[in-house]
Structures are given as C-alpha cells and as structure tokens.
Symmetry: C2
Subunit: 232 residues, 2 copies
C-alpha cells in the first residue's frame, strides 16, 4: 500500500515544471498535489503534465505553507546542498530518499514532502517547519537538479515504501507536544537566545524518529509530570 | 567510485529532452552521452541542459546502436511496460533500477544504459541487443514517464552503485562467447525456428549473471571441448 503522501510545491515559478511534477506524480501513483502561491498553470503546464492534467486540475492551492501541512504527521523538506554552510543546524542531518523510505517503512500516516522554489529553495522559516530534511545525493560539480527530476527521483523511491500498521502520531498531537516542550523551556528559564535552536533540534530528533501515536502520549504524560513538580 | 557508465539515447525526438537528460547526467556525476541518430540539439536543448551544455557538446553522435555499444560489457535496455504482452520473451525478466544496482555491485567494467524513442521505445532488434532489461516500477494508471525523468531516476540509483575489483568480461570476449554458442547450435542441428529465441534466452541469462572475464574464458573452453567431441 502506498503511504498517504502529498507533494507540496512552495511558490513554484515555472508552470512547465508544475506540469512535469504532476506527470511524475501520476507515474508513481501519487495524486495529492498542493501548490503554495504558485504561478498560474496554463498552456505550458498542461502540455508538460501530458496525461496528468486531471491531477493538476485537482491540485489544492493555498496561500501559506502552514496551511498546506497542518494535517501532516511528518513534514519532509527536500533541499539541494546549496547554502548548506549558512544554516547547517537547519539542514542537518539530511537523509537520502532511500533513508527516508527505510525510516518510514512499516508506519502509516500522513506525510508531506516539500519542494522549494526553483531559484531560492526554502526560507529559514519554512525549513524550521520540517521534521526531516531530505537531500538527493548528487555530484558536487553540478548539484542543482531540475525541480521535476527531483520529484521523480523522490517518488520513485517512496513509491517502494512498504507501509505497515504502526500509526504515526497525529499532526495535531505532535504540535501539542512541541508547544508543551516550549512551555517547559519557559518554565525552566531556558536562555531566551537558545530557545529557537533547541526547539528546532528537538523537532528534528522527533522528526527523524517518526513518532508513533502512543509515544507522543507517553512523552506528553512525562512533560505534564515534570511541570507539576516544577510548579509545585 | 562510479561505474564506467554511458547513457545511450536511441533516436530521441525532442531536443528539450536531450538537454534535460544532459543536466540529469551531470547532476549525478555521469558524463558519457551517446546519441544514436538524434534530433539536432539546438536552442531548446541548450536551455534545458542548463549548466550541462558542455556535456551535450561532448556527446558522441553515431548512426547505429551497434556502434554505440560495441565496447560495452553489459548493455541494459530501459523500457516502459508498454507492449509487454507482445514480446514478453524479449523483456522478461525486467529488473528495477535497484535490482540492477545490486547485481552490478562489486563489479567493474563498461556499462551502457539505453533509453528508447519517446514515442516508440525500442524495436525488437534493438531489444535483442540488450543483456538486461530495466523497468522503473510505475503506476499502472499512467506508466509512461518523461524520458529525462526516467534517466534521472535510473542515474540516481546507479550513482549509488559501489564498484569493486571483479572485472566484467570484455565486450569483445562476450561477443565471441555468443558467436561460439551460435556455432554450437548449428553443430547440434538445433531447430532453425528456435535458434533466435534460444540465443536471446542465453543472452539474457548471461546478461543478468553479469559474466566476469575468467568465467567467459572457462565457458568458451567448455564450448571448445564440446565441439571437439562433436566434430570427431
């Protein structure tokens, strides 16, 4: 069974690419496409989508990335290696598509795979919304892939994903967990200037662990107990 | 180390695709592109190749597929599932890109990966030149991939191939082996109408076995001894 996976294109610039992405999705059996502030898909998009024009017509268009991923248990950002040095803590550790497949194997839930703008990729803020960062291993000489090629490679790999009966935690519960952690950092007077990085680190740890529903409940139980002791 | 691998496009129709293929090749660190009777790569090919225009300019242009693969130890034909029922024995067993990677792992030699025309794929005769058939697992609903997407997926997988120190048999020696087998079929009065299929079957068996140099020599030694006994 295919994982319940949606492809999210963040502000794609070229409609030909959007059409090509739709085709690659249909080739690998995926149909849920979300476009965040996209260019308008017209004649060229239709031509490049070939027999996947239906998929493109049924794409969801939203105005913010947050809206696109609010129901996703795991949010995976796909990035090139460009800019790696500038925001290492946002991108490390990056996983290959194969590693992502292996990590998600046996689980079941809603996964969002994000692809950034053709020229600029993601903003820092967008990267910080991701639970996992995925990078396709490419040549150092010319690492910048065409957007639809990247989608084809990622979906080729993830279409082989064997889902199982381990339910990934609900997106809403994971959000509560992270808000709970933020609360706890406040409670313990954690240094203000370290808070963002630390919250991001924890997001990445839990992200790559692919938290299950019962694990989130247990973690939140622990947090509640810690808070009770602190506040007493 | 990357396997010594060339990409062969057989009579590509659209220069935009040829340019996109060059880009995908450079993304994954491959540079050896061979074009068999291609459309002329001009402005659109240049645009789609992006920073891989050099690779496209250095492509080898040939007029026959035989010429393109004469130095290749292993010839892998990439096909969609279209037409599978019409010429099953030509295409079976097809391997996924991952299976091809696993089979070639630890070996070293010259590999040619063939991609057919955008509309018609390969002819029967072209398919019969292949040692192995590779098919990207796609959705039954819409299996027909864009050419450059298929190249990107295959090279993504094969760029992860770990070569080793087991030398694949030289293309010339493999050809001698097959000619030797054909000779033997003549010697034993093998039914004429079965010869082609049987030779193809043997080609596929040895193809998926990825014969090593010393194995070819041993096999040819056995054939020689058989022939001596028959002819005595």
């Amino acid at each position: 069974m295919l994982m319940d996976l949606k492809v999210v294109l963040v502000e794609p610039l070229y409609q030909g690419n959007v059409g090509s992405v739709a085709r690659a999705m249909k080739n690998f059996g995926f149909s849920d496409l979300v476009l965040v502030n996209p260019c308008k898909p017209e004649v060229e998009a239709r031509a490049m989508s070939s027999h996947a024009w239906d998929l493109l017509q049924n794409a969801t268009v939203v105005s913010s990335l947050e809206g696109a991923i609010e129901d996703s248990s795991i949010v995976i950002g796909t990035t090139g290696i460009t800019g790696l040095k500038f925001d290492e803590h946002l991108r490390i550790p990056p996983f290959s598509p194969r590693e992502v497949r292996e990590r998600l194997s046996g689980m079941d839930g809603n996964v969002a795979v994000l692809f950034g703008r053709e020229d600029q990729g993601f903003s820092r803020e967008e990267l910080s919304l991701c639970d996992m960062i995925m990078t396709i291993p490419t040549s150092e000489v010319y690492p910048v892939m065409n957007l639809s090629h990247a989608v084809a490679v990622v979906l080729y790999e993830l279409s082989e994903l064997t889902t199982g009966d381990l339910p990934l935690a609900d997106a809403f519960d994971v959000r509560l967990l992270h808000e709970h952690i933020a609360e706890l950092l406040d409670d313990i007077d954690y240094p203000e200037h370290k808070k963002e990085k630390t919250r991001l680190m924890i997001k990445r740890i839990f992200g790559r662990a692919c938290l299950l529903e019962r694990e989130v409940q247990t973690l939140r139980g622990i947090l509640r107990k810690i808070q009770q002791h602190i506040r007493e």
